[in-house]
């Protein structure tokens, strides 16, 4: 009995992995780009919200 081949039995299973990886990478790239390009003043303002 082998359990390693389950996933291969789903038709077009590669799409699961591809889509999820793609979403992950895209989301991440966009987020990190935004984070580093964001306006310093805005970031500072947001980080001080709890102190007001």
């Amino acid at each position: 009995m082998k359990f390693i081949h389950y996933i291969e039995k789903i038709a077009g299973v590669d799409i699961y992995g591809l889509i999820s990886l793609l979403i992950f990478v895209l989301f991440f790239t966009v987020m990190v780009t935004w984070v580093f390009r964001a306006d310093k003043k805005k970031i500072k303002e947001m980080s001080e919200i709890p102190l007001h």
Partner: protein, 709 residues
Amino acid sequence: MQVEKFCYDNKIVKAFGYATVIFAIVGMLAGLWVAIQFYAPAASLNLAPTTFGRLRPLHTNAIIFAFVGNCIFTGVYYSLQRLCKTRMYSDKLSWFHFWGWQAIIAAAAITLLLGFTTGKEYAELEWPIDIAIAIVWIAFGINLFGTILKRREKHLYVAIWFYIATWVTVAMLHIVNSFEIPVTLFKSYSWYAGVQDALVQWWYGHNAVAFFLTTPILGLMYYFLPKAANRPVYSYRLSIIHFWALIFIYIWAGPHHLLYTSLPDWAQSLGTVFSIMLIAPSWGGMLNGLFTLRGAWDKVREDPVLKFMVVAITCYGMATFEGPMLSLKSVNAISHFTDWTIAHVHIGGLGWNGFMAFAMLYYLVPRMWGTNLYSKKLATNHFWLGTIGIILYAVPLYWAGFTQSLMWKSFTPEGQLKFQFLETVTNIIPMYITRSVGGALYLTGAVLMAYNLYKTVRQGEFIANEEAEAPPLIKEVKVKKEYWHRLLERKPVTMLVLSLIVVAIGGIIELVPTFLVKSNIPTIASVKPYTPLELQGRDIYVREGCYTCHSQMIRPFRDEVARYGEYSKAGEFVYDHPFQWGSKRTGPDLAREGGKYPDSWHYNHMYDPRSMSPGSIMPQYVWLLDNKLDTSSTASKIRAMKTLGVPYPDGYEKIANFELMKQADSIARNLKKDKIETPGDAEIVALIAYLQRIGRDIKAEEKTKTVMK
């Protein structure tokens, strides 16, 4: 611009805060009690409700959902109002949430001690309580989002994102994991069986740690740490990356609880990969917390609040470093099923959750009562008692786990197992004793805190409605060039949906394939449904929480196969609603228990384990000998199992009790041969029937046949 005047609701914060302190002590007392039972089995009092198998779920549930749960709500209700510059959306909902949650805790305490349990770790509560949890959680959600929507602050501070992610993910986890078919008012069977049940359970279990014990507490950290240190968080940018990376990756890591089990290999590897990745956001968060204190370490020396936070965040870092390590297969092969795991979770529980809760309470109480903390010195003593308590708790257990695992795996030069299972247990009893001393110190610290807070409350005057003012939020004319994330930060509902998508992706990818291939799970022709008596016996096994000490999962290791027998196969568990693989071996594995000992051995062993294996630390189960088996539920249990797809013949429920008595009488006759007189309808007979069945099916056929359905 006209400033608006309004009041923050401190009363609800006070109520949740009191509940936090009370359940901290209750939960820790239960923990200490079960810890003592490890070396003094008589501490079970030979009563069903106070025996380890029922008390341990009470301890874990009390700590997670009562202590940490109330701590989360205390912090959320305090910080959310201030971060949004508004009162909570609805006082009525706040109080419904408060009393609803406390009622759930009370119901949980009673039902768990009575033995009403689903048998799934950290989700033991039965279906009526599951429904109540869903209702109260939704009320909390409406209140949470209502408040966010009527805020006077443009931006959603990062703490609020963590609250949103917590709410949405816990809702999803709770609902998916709680699919169960009710049999009676307080008995249900998990919708899933065997491998699938295990996968869903640990997807839930792991993410309960992630989204109940981690993300909300991180939210609290991002609010209370800057407050206490009076400076903004080290890097707000890092906190954004921390948030998205953490929720994205955490949801995938569940299968690392099932390494080397019968779970499909791909799912195990998926869990490992994501667990390793998890170290990045976790440490990003830890460093963000610790660096916030840069240049302010002189304050840490003075302020007990910051002291607790520093150790809490450090423990978070240690636990999240250790987690990925434990999910490496080679490390897991040593750590799994031992006390190592228990040490690991207590670094998180005692260090991270406990100390963050204490820090928050020491911060909140003086402020809400308009006074200073009654005694800084007492708080500092609490800090040291707690810290030493954690060390005394964890170090012996790491040692115990490592030692025991190596002993399990030792062979003599002749190729025989070097140690009996029991020897590996008695060898680590000194460590169990030290652990309970550590726990007792930690509890003493918590009691000191309760006294200190009580005195603080007495010397101050409670500010039920704290006045505040802020300009209203005016709708801005849209500036064209805006970055999407900043837009997102102002849109809590979009945030909610996006968080849900992010966590759902992980869940779906992980769970769906196993379900789609349900028909492909290699079934083993000789694996048959349980007989009615065995089914009843299995429910007793679940009721008494046997899974808290015994696994039913033989991993494919040389020592485990030598000690217990043929390793476990996925196809053996297809009728197990719920699965009972367990997560800790205080006693030996039971996956091949059937037929190992005569019936009379089990009878005597349940009556007094030490009469059969001297030195055993298993509690006595004397009541099983006297309790009469409730056979009125047999028919409905068979019906429920049939609904779940267990292939009993048509109309079997009608003759089930007849079959049950037939098998019971034969066991009773068997016992009589060994001079044991027992009525056939005693609970012990059903339990013996089940124990004698476990893992036998594939022994029946020498050559197992794999059938692809």
